[in-house]
Subunit: 407 residues, 2 copies
């Protein structure tokens, strides 16, 4: 497997564009298209929030009922959530417009929205935007980057990646882009992530590969504990790599899963590190938990603790807050067995040994915690299962961004 | 029932003191005693965190196994959590010292600690502090206030209250004090709360009254979602009101429960409103939920949402975040039935009607949200159950306090 340049347009047959439609703000790209020149199989995972945005409802129906898809239209600025029947009607109008221009069925067009909840889309500007997108789309790396830029809200960097593998002698590419900076605590998958591949694979296995992959990637990140109404992860495969169709699990399927996992892990980490206001990516790996699920729950509890996140921001080796967050996670363990370490490229240090303080230099700890990527390692000594979760520090800028996001 | 002056010393036979022991900081009261001149029955509820501070373990044992108690010794600055066997040994030394000076059994002395996790108590200063406390204690209102001051950490105001009721022709007083500003998300009861009463009641009913009361009082507040290792709520009753002992449920028991509920609700609200860095008490009442438990979960989800809390700080009527927080609470409901209102002494305004935006003035909403006590009202239209939860806004000062709490 090797990483290659690009994102959603890296795989054969995929095109994209990002344009200015003036949905909510001026002078920024705010609409994107991803398009495949041939029909794709599609898989998707969506928010578990009871309040599901209109586009989530629209896309879910397509994943479950359409034979193929060929395009995704995304806008930022307004989430089209809390918009009732009118919101769903707008999804249909978007899809119909794109379908008409592209000469494909309405139910082959995914739509996605992110931004403020509770406002209706400015449908005229959206439809005009679709016209521009269809003209602008192409297969270039820059087009993929434009799309990744257009779907950003409070993100500070674009998030895209592509990897190349070889399956049955054929070159296969998996690429993706995502956005997500606040209201990030995915419980099915994350805010918006679009993965494309030219692999030839059955729809069933495509969905299984995605559903499995998100458990330890997108579902292991949290910026603020708020599970969005819009979380959507879509995976489209157009078969243009011309490998023999994968219809059974085996070496080829595993290769694809590994590549998908690399893409999803990269995008998930990138989202966590670019959490609203974040100065640092805050990673936690829990070792030797009794079960895999325990390991996941414990790791997520640590990266989700406001107090721990504030301590990371302050470069303060406050391991008591980490122990406390493990303790309220809902998992049974013996506190007097727990070891806690901090680690970054500046070094590694043990803060807690068997549940009590280990002698360490506060100065050295602060140095380790001053890096832009900080890891907490926890040894539970309860079993042999491991999991990693990703979050970010809690900063003044998080408050600044969210105290007047709508203004 | 009427509210009267004072807190833990309001009931007959209770004394208290707060003194400077130099546990961690200088020039502040940091140790307190609450003492009954006669033996008391005691009830207690404690943190559900797997990591339990040494004093929690000590006190739990007393509630379960001692026939009576007579004193509580509390220090602030260091939590005596994550301190292993040494921490428990220090609890025993504290209790033994107080017992010796007061002429009561060691197992009649509760101990409590709050502050930094993972550091050992400076036991010599603690023991010297106990000597001062025993000398200083008296029945005055000021002594109760001194104790309430001494248990504060990042609190900005003391929290105490007393109410008077009449039971079987006798005057009965219930008073209490509490502290708690950060690491507040009680899941059994809150950080530290000490309630005293001169009521005469059986130990079983005393515990039942407390266990029932905390469900809709202390367990309905959250400052930051972090369930502490030290949460402790103790209720001591010394019988000096001379009412006939309450040994069965009935009108007298109900009267006492009501008074206890007023005390606990007051202390819980006060703790939420004085959350670390808070500018406003943020109350949420959910009406017409399908079950009482649903109502509680929904109300707590709203006051626990970082995004909503930041919006409250920004006086931003971002009802979409409220709807979103209801949606991920884990309760099933129809989003298209939900009504959302904001309310304060500046007025009331409906923001959301049947899941979509209601027409309202942003200016008026901002005015309502600018008050120091802000309420969100949610009508679920699913049943007839109601619950209220209390939190606070998320501010720059929360970050400031917690980025370098230990320094």
């Amino acid at each position: 497997m090797k990483q290659i340049e690009g994102g959603v347009t890296a795989a054969t047959g995929f095109e994209a564009a990002g344009i200015e439609a003036g949905v909510k703000y001026q002078n920024r790209k705010d609409m994107a298209i991803v398009y495949s020149t041939v029909p794709c199989k599609a898989a998707g995972t969506f928010t578990t929030n009871v309040v599901k945005a209109a586009p989530v409802q629209w896309d879910k129906d397509i994943v479950e009922n359409s034979d193929f898809v060929q395009a995704v239209i995304v806008n930022t600025g307004i989430a089209n959530a809390g918009t009732g029947k009118q919101g769903l009607e707008y999804c249909k109008q978007e899809a119909a417009k794109a379908a008409n221009l592209l000469g494909i069925p309405e139910k082959a067009v995914f739509v996605g929205s992110t931004g403020v909840i509770g406002k209706q889309l400015p449908i005229d500007r959206i439809l005009a935007g679709i016209e521009k997108l269809v003209v602008a789309k192409d297969h270039s790396i820059q087009a993929g980057k434009d799309a990744a830029t257009a779907i950003m809200t409070t993100d500070t960097v674009t998030k895209e990646i592509a990897v190349e593998i070889e399956i049955s002698g054929k070159k296969v590419i998996v690429g993706g882009m995502s956005k997500g900076s606040g209201m990030i605590h995915p419980n099915m998958c994350t805010m918006l992530a679009y993965i494309t591949s030219d692999i030839c694979i059955s729809k069933e296995l495509l969905q299984e590969a995605l559903s499995t992959s998100i458990i330890d990637t997108f579902n292991m990140i949290s910026v603020d504990g708020d599970t969005s109404t819009n979380d959507t992860c879509l995976l489209m495969a157009n078969g243009m790599a011309n490998n023999p169709e994968i219809t059974e699990k085996g070496a080829e399927y595993e290769q694809f899963c590994k590549a998908l996992n690399v893409v999803n892990t990269y995008l998930a980490r990138k989202m966590a590190g670019d959490g609203e206001g974040a100065c640092a990516l805050f990673e936690t790996t829990v070792y030797n938990a009794a079960t895999k699920q325990d390991a996941r729950i414990l790791a997520k509890s640590v990266i989700g603790s406001n107090l721990t996140k504030a301590a990371i921001y302050g470069h303060d080796a406050n391991w008591g807050r980490i122990l406390c967050a493990l303790g309220y996670a809902g998992v049974t363990f013996d506190p007097e067995n727990v070891d806690i370490f901090v680690q970054s490229k500046a070094g590694q240090l043990q803060l807690c040994k068997n549940g009590v303080e280990n002698v360490y230099s506060e100065e050295e700890a602060a140095k380790i915690l001053s890096e832009s990527e900080v890891t907490v390692l926890v040894d539970m000594k309860m079993g042999s299962e491991t999991a990693t979760a990703w979050g970010c520090d809690l900063t003044y800028d998080y408050i600044k961004i969210n105290a007047d996001y709508r203004s």
